[in-house]
């Protein structure tokens, strides 16, 4: 079974480039050049140098001893929370900013939900001296004020998306509109493994540093580069794809993607895409999305702004349909409890996104001795308000 993109831009039944003609030249320019640029030795050298000295990679693979004891398995945390800017998002923005430079682009646009990808984009634009415009839903701007301030301090212009539900989905629409209106000098840094081909593949390649490092670190620590389980949370799915990437063809490694059930999958306030969604087209690719019978996109809900997206990347849709990966969900409350547990047992405050992945450990049964890797995709500083309100600190 091929789990990766084919020459036409598809993962099985999913993927493609469903874009209006106005975007065709931009997307085609990327499609024709991205692999050539990324695979170039000078690009790789610069990318890895920045990952090492600027981002702080490799991120540790930490054996969480107390969690391990509690769950009767070896729980390894891949510490993306220790990256510069506090999440895995920077791996992708470093890659894409270098690529944008090679394409001769002068202006960068991005969309952001929680603000992590917006901050990561604003950061690399400051680093390379490029103009940066970030689209963010009006509601997200209100609930993520510190990240908005960070982006502004980094020199980015933050534009409020006031259409539709005023959240991530609408910020993505606005960014696409900007790109349509500025086709020549602008590169759109998409923050997840979504969008028209080649974005899902390109973002997955940049994020695959996560699983590449994990394999080496597992070998050093356990003598085997294949764990029994790999867990990661999924909104659009970029940390999960980075975490799965080099394990996808290791068929004995069980891959588990954790979606946000919100208040519960049947409550009408959920972002559990594979449970609630069906096949369709959103933001340029064919995937699985939450929609009405008439094909209108349904607004998701999650306590975590980073998982609050009505679709998943097309490669995830393929892994789901072929059952190569299991897609499960945990509720807001389960995630918040898991975040608190991790904090109090390991001294690590996880992002609520990552806490979703941790929460699934509660539902697993281990016989002892299994190696389990959980992608700790980001840190919880940005979520302190939510944690405080929920637990009454």
């Amino acid at each position: 079974m091929n789990y990766f993109v084919n020459e036409k831009g598809y993962y099985g039944d999913f993927g493609g480039a469903y874009i209006p003609e106005m975007l065709y030249p931009n997307v085609e320019e990327l499609r024709q050049n991205y692999l050539k640029i990324i695979e170039d030795a000078a690009f790789q050298k610069e990318f890895h140098a920045l990952l090492k000295d600027y981002v702080g990679r490799p991120s540790p693979l930490y054996l969480a001893k107390r969690l391990s004891k509690k769950y009767n398995a070896n729980i390894f945390l891949k510490r993306e929370d220790l990256n510069h800017t506090g999440a895995h998002k920077i791996n992708n923005t470093i890659g894409q900013i270098l690529l944008a430079e090679k394409l001769g682009k002068k202006r960068i646009i991005a969309e952001t939900g929680a603000g992590q990808h917006g901050v990561a984009t604003a950061t690399v634009c400051a680093l390379r001296g490029l103009e940066c415009v970030v689209y963010m839903g009006e509601i997200d701007i209100q609930r993520q004020a510190p990240n908005v301030a960070r982006m502004k301090m980094l020199g980015a212009k933050v534009i409020s998306a006031v259409s539709g539900s005023k959240t991530l989905k609408d910020a993505t629409n606005e960014a696409m509109r900007d790109w349509i209106n500025n086709p020549v000098d602008t590169h759109y840094i998409i923050g997840s493994v979504v969008g028209p081909h080649p974005y899902p593949d390109m973002v997955a390649i940049f994020q695959s540093i996560i699983s590449e490092e994990t394999k080496k670190q597992l070998t050093e620590q356990t003598g085997n580069d294949q764990p029994d389980y790999v867990l990661a949370c999924v909104g659009g799915g970029s940390n999960a794809m980075g975490m799965f990437y080099h394990f996808i063809n290791d068929e004995n490694v069980k891959l588990i993607a954790i979606e946000a059930a919100g208040k519960g999958v049947s409550t009408g306030f959920s972002a559990a895409t594979t449970f609630l969604g069906k096949e369709g087209v959103l933001h340029g690719s064919r995937s699985i999305l939450m929609q009405t019978a008439d094909g209108q996109v349904v607004e998701p809900h999650s306590v975590s702004a980073g998982l609050d997206y009505p679709g998943i990347g097309p490669q995830h849709a393929h892994l789901f349909k072929t059952t190569r990966a299991a897609y499960v969900s945990v509720t807001d409350n389960e995630a918040l409890d898991a975040g608190l547990l991790c904090t109090q047992m390991e001294g690590i405050i996880p992002a609520i996104e990552s806490a979703h992945a941790l929460a699934h450990l509660e539902k697993m049964k281990f016989k002892g001795g299994e190696n389990v890797v959980v992608c700790l995709s980001g840190r919880g500083d940005k979520d302190m308000d939510t944690y405080m309100k929920h637990f009454g600190f």
Binding site: K8, G16, A17, Y18, I19, P20, E21, M22, Y24, P25, S163, G164, K169, D170, N173, M176, R177, I180, N181, P183, V184, E279, G280, V281, L282, H283, G284, Q291, T292, A293, D294, G295, Q296, V297
Partner: protein, 256 residues
Amino acid sequence: MNRINKIFKEKKNNILSIYYTAGYPGLGDTVAIAAALEKAGADMLEIGFPYSDPVADGPVIQASSKLSLDQGMDLNLLFEQLKELRKTVTIPVLLMGYVNPVLQYGVERFCKACAEVGVDGCIVPDLPMVEYEEFYKDVFLKYGLSNIFLVTPQTSVERIRKIDSLSNGFIYLLSSSATTGQNLQVSDTTEAYFSRIADLKLTNPTMIGFGISSKETFDKACKYANGGIIGTAFVKAIEAGNLEENIEAFMTKFTS
């Protein structure tokens, strides 16, 4: 003969096509607007079916789509309404919208419904040419529907040739690479682009759209193509007040 082919055969120039959103401003206005537009001198109609995430549209058309959706418009209802269309309307009618609602409705079912209510063609901006050719072309042809492709100033000659070979109605030239609702600025660059297209001697007629809002911009469009398409300016014009009076007043600017 398909009504689209017929109009271009009968009228070589100054073809005036009007876009409006189904179910806007009132949910039940779809057919009445079509009839009023024909009466007021429109040569062709594009009826938009609303979508929650219309990336190629500007704020005016997006807002009309949102209101229409909020009022309860969907493809089932639209086809119900359009059953009345051909009792009063004789000019060519196209449906314009995004691919996801069509996929959910079912492509074959959609094409069949179009044919049954007398729709002559479709514009689905985010349906890629390669997908159309591989999966949907035969279905469109089976039901006698034209599929209209967009061309922008950035579209390569090779791609325009390919679009021409796949088209059987007209080719929709975007005045600039932009979302809807921008003003048409005929600069040296756009003029060169329009002339370049004219020099290609395409098999299909061409219509210029995006940014046409006045008689002046419409005339400019007609200088380089067989006609012009007006969307945003019309949607704005019928936002409030008496529908029929608004339509007549709007159309007089172009037909007198």
